[in-house]
Every structure is written in structure tokens, then in C-alpha cells.
């Protein structure tokens, strides 16, 4: 892992800060254009949702028996995406993988934004959105209490915990960088960043505390992330719906979540690298390592999917098999796209170093993985509900324009939050990258120079 550090070593501290904070320069008209476009899509989605609230749920494609549709597919998808930050940042931090440093901020921010988007969907899909506070255990005269046996309440609890935890994780890691920004800012911005940086001065004691706190947060956030997606899986696994009632679901969902999370981080890396000209910081080495990680996870996903289908096929229980045959019959193109995108293509392509190091190939693979993951969620939810136990009430579902508008708004809203975040906050973890640079030294051994890296503890 020598190339990136050599490139960085030639640059002065000021230049490094400048380049890594390039996303925070005065916005160009393209930036305004993008923000306006995304804002317009979000506004369209909000008006579609308002229309739904003002009329009724008949504006969706839902019916009996398919009472959950693309809203819940969205929910599961966005919760899945939110596993990126935890995986990339926390696990790689604990395993001291140094190549994570330039991308950790992007991944952590992604966690916060996607879990926020995910948290909106259970509210959006309600029949009576205006009484959503019934979910909360607030004291009231009639002694009414939410039902803690319901997986939906577990969801609410887990997601709230995850939003709080991941926001803290993001903010904590950003403190020293905010101080860098504060030192470079002028005017009222300086005051804002001074408050945000919480008086960080960079003393030795502060660094010791910071290091301890971030390691602790990294260790604490992993079980939360695993539990969040297990709980989302329990929404399905604890029911008696054929096709949902499966014990493999929690680990399978967690693996699926990590797949889409890691793929999304790679996609983001590519976009950030291109937009903010960070070619020196996000090198082919990073894509190579992320590609290896993705390969392992895609293999795991393929295994989990195989186990799920194989047990259904082997048991051949009539109703379970009916759901599977209905799904593979009616949704064949989607099913094939899902299997190719999630399993066949990444597992074969990522074996090759050349492909892992090719930014363009990685972009195609990772975008396809996330399309496939969205399809996977849709195929879990809709076909199972279409063919439940009573053949007399079998039905079908296709999303309406309202549901599709809200879905589009979710994607646009996520991107918009990201765009704004990149403008106001350091997108690359400045201090983390520079810390690595400082730890690198070239030691002369005889006639050759040996690259050495000092580690703590």
C-alpha cells in the first residue's frame, strides 16, 4: 500500500487540507442546478404524499391481500443501505484497516441519511398517519400502552436507537475536522463551526479521549446495526405468511444489508472522487480492497439465498412452494435480474484484480447490486402476500404513481441531504488521512528504502 501515501507525502499540510475540503468551496451553478433538481423531485414526492393523506390509501396500488407494497420494500432497502457506515467505518476501524480512512466519512454520513429516509416509510405507509404517536409509550389517563410484542414496535425502538447512535458516531468522528474547518473559515461561518467543533484544540489529552471514545462507539454501533436489520427481518419471519416465515431471514437480511451498504459506499466513492477531484486520495487500491470485501459478502448472500430456496424446494410444502412458483413464474425477469446483479455478476467479476481496480466496472457492478437488492426486497414482500393460505383471496399488486413518486422522492431526498452535507461538512476525514501520513516513514536499510507504518498499542 505504497502509492497513495507517496503521492500525499509530496503535498504540504495546507494543500492537503485544501484538497480534502474542496467539497466545501463556494458552490458552482452546477451544484445549484443539482440541488434545485433534487429539491423539485422531493417537492413532487411530498405533494404526492400530501395527496395520499388528504384522500385515502386507495391512491396506492394496495389491496387485500397485498397490504404492504413498495413502501415497505423501500423501508427494508433503506435500512439495508444504512449498514454501510457501520460496516466500513466501525468494523474496519476495529480491524485497523488503514485504507478505510478517506472513505469513512462518506460511509458514516450515508448511514445517517439512509436510516433517516428509512424511518419515514413506516409513517408514510400508515392508514392514519396523523395518529402515529400511538406508537410512543407516553403516559396517558386511559393507561393505553403500545404493544411491545409487536415487531413494528421493535422496529421503532431499533431505528430510533440506530439514528441516534449513528448520528453520534458521525459527529464524534467529525470533531477534529470541524476544528480544521473552523480554523480556515471566516465571518459568521467561523462562529457556527466554532460551536460545532465544541472547542477542539488538538491537545494530546483531547486526542487520547477522542481515540478512546471513537473506538468505543465503533464497538457499540456494530451490535446495534446487526440488531436493526435482524428486527426488520423479524417483521417478516415471525408471521405465518408463507414465504416470510423462515428462520434464515435475520442473518440473510443482515448479509443483504451489508451487501447493499458496501456496494453503495463504492458507488459513492466513485461519485465523490469524480466530483471533488479526489483521485489522489481514493486510489485503485481502495477500490481493490472494497472489491474484495464486496466479493466475500456477495458469496455470503448467494449462500444465504441458496439455503432459503433450497429448504423450500426440499420440503416442498404446498403453500410455500406455491409462493415460490408464483414468484418465479410471474416475476421471472425481475428474479433473473436480481440473481445476476446480486450473485452471478459480482461473484465472477470481482475475482479479477483488473476489474476491482477499474473504476468504471466497479460503478456498473455496484449500481447493479443495489438495483438487485431493491428488487430482492420487492420480491420478498409482494409475491408472498399475493398468494397466502386462502386461494380464494389471491391477488396481485403493482405500485401506483403516488407510491412511485414517493419512492423517487426518497432517492432524491437522500441525494439532496448528501449534497448539502458535502457542502457544509468535511466530506473526507481530513485528520484521519493526515494521521496516516504522519505515521508513515521511510527507513533506510542499506541501499533500499523500506516503507514503515507505526501503529498504536
Amino acid at each position: 500500500m505504497s502509492e497513495p501515501e507517496h503521492a500525499l507525502a509530496a503535498k504540504s499540510a495546507g494543500q492537503l487540507n485544501d484538497e480534502m475540503l474542496s467539497s466545501m468551496r463556494t458552490p458552482t451553478w452546477q451544484w445549484y442546478g443539482l440541488a434545485f433538481f433534487l429539491g423539485a423531485v422531493v417537492a413532487w414526492g411530498i405533494s404526492a404524499f400530501t395527496y395520499q393523506v388528504m384522500t385515502d390509501l386507495s391512491v396506492t396500488g394496495l389491496d387485500r391481500p397485498v397490504m404492504w407494497g413498495i413502501y415497505i420494500a423501500n423501508f427494508v432497502f433503506w435500512v439495508g443501505l444504512s449498514h454501510s457506515g457501520t460496516m466500513v467505518s466501525a468494523i474496519l476501524r476495529l480491524s485497523q484497516a488503514n485504507w478505510r480512512r478517506p472513505i469513512l466519512r462518506a460511509a458514516e454520513a450515508m448511514t445517517v441519511f439512509s436510516i433517516t429516509v428509512a424511518g419515514l416509510f413506516p409513517v408514510i405507509h400508515l392508514g392514519r398517519n396523523w395518529v402515529v404517536y400511538y406508537f410512543m409509550p407516553y403516559p396517558n389517563q386511559r393507561g393505553l400502552w403500545p404493544n411491545f410484542r409487536s415487531p413494528l414496535l421493535w422496529d421503532a425502538t431499533a431505528i430510533t436507537t440506530y439514528i441516534i447512535g449513528s448520528s453520534l458516531f458521525l459527529y464524534l468522528g467529525m470533531l477534529p475536522d470541524l476544528a480544521v474547518v473552523r480554523d480556515r473559515a471566516t465571518g459568521w461561518r467561523k462562529k457556527v463551526y466554532a460551536i460545532l467543533a465544541m472547542g477542539w484544540r488538538g491537545t494530546a489529552r483531547e486526542w487520547v479521549v477522542f481515540r478512546k471514545a471513537s473506538t468505543l462507539m465503533a464497538a457499540l454501533i456494530i451490535p446495534v446495526a446487526v440488531s436493526v436489520h435482524s428486527i426488520v427481518a423479524w417483521d417478516f419471519a415471525v408471521t405465518v405468511v408463507p414465504g416470510w416465515h423462515s428462520t434464515i431471514f435475520p442473518p440473510y437480511f443482515v448479509i443483504g444489508a451489508i451487501t447493499s451498504g458496501v456496494a453503495a459506499v463504492i458507488t459513492l466513492m466513485i461519485i465523490i472522487r469524480r466530483v471533488f477531484h479526489l483521485e489522489d486520495y481514493l486510489t485503485p487500491l481502495h477500490f481493490d480492497n472494497m472489491g474484495k470485501l464486496l466479493l466475500v459478502i456477495c458469496l455470503l448472500w448467494s449462500y444465504a439465498y441458496f439455503v432459503e430456496v433450497q429448504t423450500t424446494w426440499y420440503a416442498h410444502e404446498p403453500i410455500e412452494w406455491e409462493v415460490w412458483s408464483f414468484m418465479s413464474g410471474k416475476y421471472t425477469p425481475l428474479l433473473i435480474l436480481m440473481l445476476v446483479g446480486n450473485s452471478v455478476l459480482p461473484v465472477t467479476a470481482l475475482c479479477f484484480k483488473k476489474i476491482r481496480r477499474s473504476v468504471r466496472a466497479m460503478l456498473v457492478i455496484t449500481v447493479l447490486i443495489n438495483i438487485a437488492m431493491f428488487i430482492e426486497r420487492y420480491l420478498i414482500i409482494v409475491p408472498s402476500l399475493s398468494h397466502k393460505n386462502m386461494p380464494f383471496v389471491w391477488g396481485s399488486y403493482s405500485p401506483s404513481w403516488v407510491e412511485l413518486s414517493v419512492t423517487a422522492a426518497a432517492f432524491a431526498g437522500f441525494t439532496l441531504m448528501y449534497t448539502l452535507f458535502a457542502k457544509f461538512f468535511p466530506m473526507v476525514a481530513v485528520t484521519d488521512v493526515r494521521e496516516l501520513g504522519v505515521r508513515h516513514t521511510d527507513i533506510k536499510l542499506g541501499r533500499t528504502k523500506v516503507h514503515s507504518l507505526s501503529e498504536e498499542e
Partner: protein
């Protein structure tokens, strides 16, 4: 806290040999329970509001075709899949063994509807506040809420009738007599295919019928323990 117990466990027996599939029960239920009158469009969308449906199956090949009818309403399961999944206790179990549904507590997650294997829970996808154009609104029962949009509803075994009879019995200091209370569907059935009563009383008509060798329950393998027993049909060649 003292456990609430009840001497009543309401149950029903439906004799499929007697059912002619006339649909009188469906109409009676609709009239009794303020079930919304749906437009053609809503029914085409699969959003009809019937609490009770008659499933019709064709058996055999022409010319030897037989038709089978299966009236399906809420099975009032003793281990109901719909109950634990409701996040706000809108779906609950009452001491008489009924699956209650509290309309004004329902937030409309529709989780219960997904988890009901019998698919007997109906959701107000459409706004039905004005489903009774004048003078039809005069037929609305004052005993039951008219459900707003966005809530789940389902068969209650005509709980308003049970309540009324319970109060009468309590005033006279006695138990409810067998056959004293009947849901609208049972009362209307012209062939007496449906029998309703207290299943925890071994001498009640419903208890005796439920011990028939012809008895079975819907999706018994799921372990939901329904309160409704069906008696197998097929005694006659051509129904």
C-alpha cells in the same frame, strides 16, 4: 392483577352440507354492522369490505361438476396471528375468546391483515364516511361506529348483540341461555347451516355439533385454534 375470566367462549359451527351459498349471511352482516357499501370500482380493485364471504369452488369436470361453498368469516382464533403483531393493541383478545378490534386505536399498519392466514380482515382503503347516500344513512346501526378511512375492520361475532344479551342476563341474575344470542349471519341463514353459542358449555347446541366426526377447522395445521368449526360437506352428489 386478577386474571379476567369468563364463563363464555363464543364459537360457531358451519355445516357445509347445509350451505346453499345463497349469500343471505353476507347481506345480513352488511346491514347489521354498518359495513360500507362499495362501488363497483372498489370491488374490482379487490377492496371490498365484506366481513363474511362465501368462497365458491367448482369441483370435477363437465358434465360431472359440483360446486362447493365455504363461508369464511373471522375465525376468532384463540392463538390469533393478528393480535401480537398490532403495535398499538387495536387488535386484542377479549375474555370471551373474541378477537376484538378497536377502530379508533387503529393506526392502519395493516400488519394484522397481512398476518391473518384467512384473509378476513378488511381495510378501509377508501373513505367510506359517505358510503350511505340519503336515505340509506337511516339504516345505520347506532350501536356500531362507522369506520373512518385508514382503519382495519373485521367480523366481531356481532359483539353488540352479545353485549345487550349479557346485560339483560346480568339484570336478571342468570347466565345467557343457549340460542339467546345470534349474530346476524346465523339468524338469517335459511338452512340453519350456521349455529352460534357458548362452546365452553358442553350441552350447548354448538358444543354438541362441534364434536361431530365431520368437523374440521380451517388451516388447522397453523395452530391458530379457531373458534369456528366446519362440518364437512359432500354428502350429496350434486348440490
Amino acid at each position: 392483577m386478577e386474571k379476567i375470566t369468563s364463563p363464555y367462549k363464543w364459537g360457531m359451527v358451519i355445516d357445509l352440507d347445509r350451505c346453499t351459498g345463497c349469500g343471505a349471511c353476507v347481506v345480513a352482516c352488511q346491514a347489521e354492522n354498518n359495513v360500507a357499501i362499495c362501488e363497483k370500482k372498489e370491488i374490482a380493485e379487490g377492496r371490498n369490505m365484506h366481513w363474511l364471504r362465501i368462497e365458491r369452488f367448482w369441483v370435477g369436470e363437465y358434465p360431472d361438476v359440483r360446486v362447493r361453498f365455504l363461508p369464511v368469516l373471522c375465525q376468532h382464533c384463540h392463538d390469533a396471528p393478528c393480535e401480537p403483531v398490532c403495535p398499538v393493541y387495536a387488535s386484542y383478545h377479549n375474555p370471551d375468546g373474541l378477537n376484538g378490534q378497536v377502530y379508533n386505536r387503529c393506526v392502519g399498519t395493516r400488519y394484522c391483515g397481512n398476518n391473518c392466514p384467512y384473509a378476513v380482515r378488511v381495510f378501509n382503503f377508501h373513505d367510506h364516511e359517505h358510503a350511505w347516500p340519503s336515505p340509506l344513512d337511516n339504516q345505520l346501526s347506532p350501536d356500531i361506529t362507522v369506520r373512518s378511512r385508514g382503519v382495519m375492520e373485521k367480523c366481531s361475532f356481532c359483539i353488540q348483540r352479545i353485549r345487550r344479551v349479557k346485560e339483560d342476563a346480568k339484570a336478571e341474575g342468570r347466565m345467557i341461555k343457549d340460542g339467546e344470542v345470534q349474530p346476524a349471519c346465523v339468524q338469517t341463514c335459511p338452512t340453519e347451516a350456521m349455529v352460534f353459542g357458548n362452546i365452553s358449555d358442553p350441552h350447548s347446541r354448538v358444543s354438541r355439533l362441534s364434536r361431530s366426526p365431520r368437523r374440521f377447522q380451517l388451516l388447522e395445521n397453523l395452530g391458530t385454534h379457531p373458534s369456528i368449526y366446519y362440518l364437512k360437506g359432500g354428502g350429496r352428489e350434486h348440490v
